[in-house]
Point group: C2
Chain length 265, copies 2
């Protein structure tokens, strides 16, 4: 049995009770930390809290060499851990399909994600979000500034009155000069706002920092104003709202400090 | 302090460890069960498991008469519980804003949601979903068949290659004849597929039933074929995929039994 378990958003206590029970009962546990990160805990904290050894696998160790994980799951209970929800990345879907092909039972235990936390923390309604997008580091997409596809997604959503989640790039194990096991870089929301403000300076943006932590920060202002602030430790993400319903406008003003003139409806 | 806690998707163990600790430490706990439902547990099970009294509030008891909840939160730790993630509904945002106005500290502890579970269980990638929609019971929208807005959302997403989550209507405490405290009705996916198949008969649909439970069901077929099946206990939801990437097509074929001709890419 191979059980995919989402660790949730923040630390060793962000896992569900069901996930905790499955993790503690596993014969072996692996984790990947290259698609996201638990900001409030090292993997050693997670292992100690749940009293189990956890072996961290890099991208190559999951995608190209999953043999050991799958061999173990043939006759033992193996847990595969991911920050946030599991199976969000194609990496994990691929691993699940490989297990399935070998006749290994799989199970998914969900975790909390930035996607839903974003909606919860900002008061923006989940059914009013359009397609999400990711803003890559300049060196990662090989160009200057914001890729046209990111601007197109935001514009396309805004044309429909919809909000856009802009996930911010994460680079772990690979930096500007290629593979680098020590590289760990998380795009900050001020950096992202600065890039987007070149195209949409007066547009309202909302920063969500450390979603799922005990002290998440939610701040709304124009993208050009957000570009000049700092938001502390990662992870950050940036929203570009579309049309606001009255209660969404109230929430951004009351809970995120949005200037009144930017959230009129 | 008013702490909003998401109970997660399925039963008393779907809450996060952090949520469990906050719930157990609370002086009083309230729950609403009209926006969603824990399918695998009654609220009594939740109360017993976490060893705390929980008072269930109906919609009026939250929206029109939140006074007692807020009074308690002035000087005690009050927990407000919701299935799934918390704050997804405007109901909760409104309650949080009222607390904020009264100077009461609020905190959000996230839960797992159908939105992310859907992506995880089907292998469909979360950044390839467009706007979500909800299919209402015919009696609830006062017309026959599918509201045009639902068809428009699906068509608009498909034009852009995006997947659509179709949430299925829930009616608790209010039925075809108006207010009814005993009424509890959850739209099934075959009912929804039958309605949509009148407009999109050969289109691929994906049913997700009991997301978050130990035995979730994921089935992909044409909407007209899904209309003739049964999917067991609630909650159900229905997806209408847009364009499929190769790994998404593989996942729907291998994990959801999609007919090969419907998932070509």
């Amino acid at each position: 049995m191979l059980t995919f378990i989402g660790l949730g958003l923040y630390d060793e206590r962000s896992i569900t009770v069901e996930g905790q029970e499955a993790l503690r009962a596993a014969d072996a546990a692996y984790a990947e930390l290259y698609t996201s990160k638990l900001v409030g805990a090292d993997i050693e904290d997670v292992a100690a809290y749940h009293d189990i050894d956890i072996e961290v696998r890099d991208r190559a160790g999951v995608e190209q060499h999953p043999g050991e994980i799958l061999d173990g799951a043939e006759d033992q209970d193996v847990a595969f851990l991911t920050p946030g929800d599991t199976m969000i990345s194609t990496t994990h879907v691929d691993l699940r399909l490989r297990a399935d092909e070998r006749g290994i039972d799989t199970r998914v235990i969900h975790g909390t994600t930035a996607q839903t936390a974003t909606s919860s923390l900002t008061g923006l309604q989940n059914y009013r979000f359009g397609k999400a997008t990711t803003l890559p580091f300049e060196y990662a997409h090989g160009g200057d500034g914001v890729p046209q596809s990111v601007l197109d997604t935001i514009a396309d959503n805004r044309d429909r009155g919809l909000h856009t989640v802009v996930y911010l790039d994460i680079k772990v194990g690979r930096g500007p000069d290629g593979d680098d096991p020590t590289h760990e870089e998380y795009m900050t929301a001020d950096h992202a706002a600065r890039q987007l403000a070149e195209h949409l300076p007066g547009t309202l943006g909302v920063v969500v920092a450390r979603a799922g932590s005990p002290d998440p920060l939610v701040t709304a202002d124009s993208l050009s104003a957000l570009a000049d602030r700092e938001f502390g430790d990662p992870l950050h993400l940036l929203l570009v709202p579309g049309e606001l319903h009255p209660i969404e406008a109230d929430a951004l003003r009351e809970l995120a400090g949005a200037p009144r003139e930017l959230v009129e409806y």
